[in-house]
């Protein structure tokens, strides 16, 4: 995986694509051009990454905050 490429490409992904996954865990493709899977369950996300055809250790797991959420600390009171 080329982290430089990943970081450059991810910064160019459209806000519309990001917003589609608001509130979910997501997995980014190794080149950072797209989100390859999303789920509200991290274990389901991992399973989806493993079956995606991408090398799992080269995909970046992340989370997309809710659209109007301000994060002022680590906890999410659910």
């Amino acid at each position: 995986m080329d982290m430089r490429e990943f970081l450059g490409n991810r910064g160019r992904v459209t806000t519309a694509e990001i917003q589609m996954h608001a509130g979910k865990y997501v997995a980014w493709s190794p080149d950072g051009t797209r989100i390859i899977a999303s789920s509200e369950d991290p274990l389901q996300l991992i399973a989806a990454v493993k079956s995606s055809g991408f090398e799992p250790s080269e995909c970046v797991l992340s989370s997309i905050p809710l659209a109007d959420e301000a994060i002022v600390g680590g906890g999410v009171d659910e």
Partner: protein, 159 residues
């Protein structure tokens, strides 16, 4: 190494940012490795966090057994009650892919609640690094601090 803040769109203007429609956060990809696997995951640099904290599923994903792990209650902003945290050492690797990678072993806490991002706090992470937050440029510069206990790996691919 340098990382740009990530920009997250919002639907309504943010009063605290003068009506802007995006929040910028110092979120960076970090590789966490355990006995069974290695995963890259985004974490938020957080100078207000005393410790580095992940969700428990991360431990499971990299093969770390939290049974009998040391426990301690932590308080997370946004939670009304303390949360029990279990601690293990984790191999951590950070790079922007340009010149070098930093690798070290850090103590990471694992909690059984949802975090929006893993917290890259003082213990286990920021304690080892010199980090400059450049708000106007929305970027963060990071380098190993004095006495950095890990390895600085020069990358073969240079710009």
């Amino acid at each position: 190494m340098r990382f740009s803040y990530l920009s997250y769109p919002v639907q309504r203007p943010i009063p605290a940012l003068g009506g802007r429609f995006a929040r910028s956060r110092p979120v960076i990809p970090v590789r966490m490795s355990g006995p069974a696997a290695s995963w890259l995951m985004d974490g938020q640099l957080d100078t207000g966090a005393d410790e580095t904290i992940c969700e428990e599923w991360v431990a499971s994903a990299i093969g770390i057994d939290l049974t009998n792990a040391p426990r301690h209650d932590v308080r997370l902003v946004g939670r009304t009650q303390p949360v029990q945290c279990r601690y293990r050492t984790v191999q951590i690797r950070v790079t922007d892919g340009v010149l070098e990678a930093l690798e070290w072993t850090g103590i990471v806490g694992f909690v059984n609640i949802r975090l929006r991002f893993p917290l890259l706090g003082f213990a286990g992470f920021l304690e080892y690094l010199d980090v400059e937050f450049r708000g106007p440029k929305q970027e963060v510069e990071m380098k190993p601090g004095v006495g950095f206990p890990g390895q600085v790996v020069r990358l073969s691919k240079t710009p």
